[in-house]
Subunit: 151 residues, 2 copies
DNA sequence: TTGCTCCTCACGTCACGTGAGGTGGC
DNA sequence: TTGCTCCTCACGTCACGTGAGGTGGC
């Protein structure tokens, strides 16, 4: 009989694997974003299993897009409801995807804006005020496109 | 003789144009991220000119990529140094571009991750545990790529 | 006068970060 | 015993947000 290998991790390992600092892992647990992690019998140290890690990866992904901890809590709470929660989860994920799409769009605009600013300072450095002026005008036009809801 | 049209804006107009709330505009001014804005003679209300607006657009762009206010202050302080500051500004902008490039990369990964999660819950909803399992494995692989420094 | 926007100042908040002081395992 | 990581709890911090209370212009 082959037993399923159940790797477990310390909080430091979980931190490096998820990219979140250990203090944040404790914080998320304390406010109920993730379920309480099991503890070492005598040490009281947190012991993370694969399922914990997967959940944390997911939470890290949500957090990275600026979602509030209150919303993250809602998301994670649905996880244990199984197939019944599927439509709800899909709706939440679709909303998340829309947020990501919008963020990606904004980043493209900002990249163009920064590129123009680099050109601008290049012209200033080269003592070409006419070109600088022209680029500044272009940048102003682009700035109009950027004046949408950030963050 | 044609006088240059110098449009001016109230704080509310500046807020809608930059996408930043009025409270944030006051905050940035109070901590020196932007220069003190001139005031109406008798009212004491802030009066923003085109130059202020352009500076604010730039600051909003920096802030949107998660730059600290301390760093933004540094960036803006260089602005009035003219051509001498050009190499410095270009270096700062290049660093900003690198941050944006990294952010864009992360967002693409997160979009793929969320797409997989949607597929997963679709499989759960359709009662196809085998497919769900397969997708979960794929997601785990992708999660590895996500475990870099977020934010 | 009545709304309207704006003002300052102080305190609140959100999402953590940072010690202080203490404990378990090689 | 000596480091090492971990623990909790409390307080700090960063970037604002939110009133309270007040004032100027149509």
């Amino acid at each position: 009989v082959t037993t399923t290998r159940q790797r477990s991790y310390t909080i430091k390992e979980a931190a490096t694997l998820t990219g979140l600092p250990a203090s944040t892992l404790r914080y998320y647990e304390s406010i109920g974003v993730i379920a309480p992690v099991s503890r070492g019998a005598s040490s009281g140290h947190r012991v993370y299993d694969e399922a914990d890690l997967e959940q944390l990866m997911w939470v890290a992904c949500l957090a990275a897009t600026g979602m509030s901890v209150a919303d993250m809590r809602r998301y994670v709470a649905n996880r244990d409801l199984g197939a019944a929660a599927a439509p709800d989860q899909i709706a939440l994920l679709a909303a998340q995807q829309e947020r990501l799409r919008h963020e990606a769009e904004q980043i493209v605009l900002r990249q163009r804006y920064v590129a123009l600013k680099i050109d601008y300072w290049g012209a200033v450095r080269d003592g070409d005020p006419q070109r600088a002026e022209q680029i500044a005008a272009e940048a102003a036009t682009l700035a109009d496109a950027l004046k949408q809801t950030p963050r």
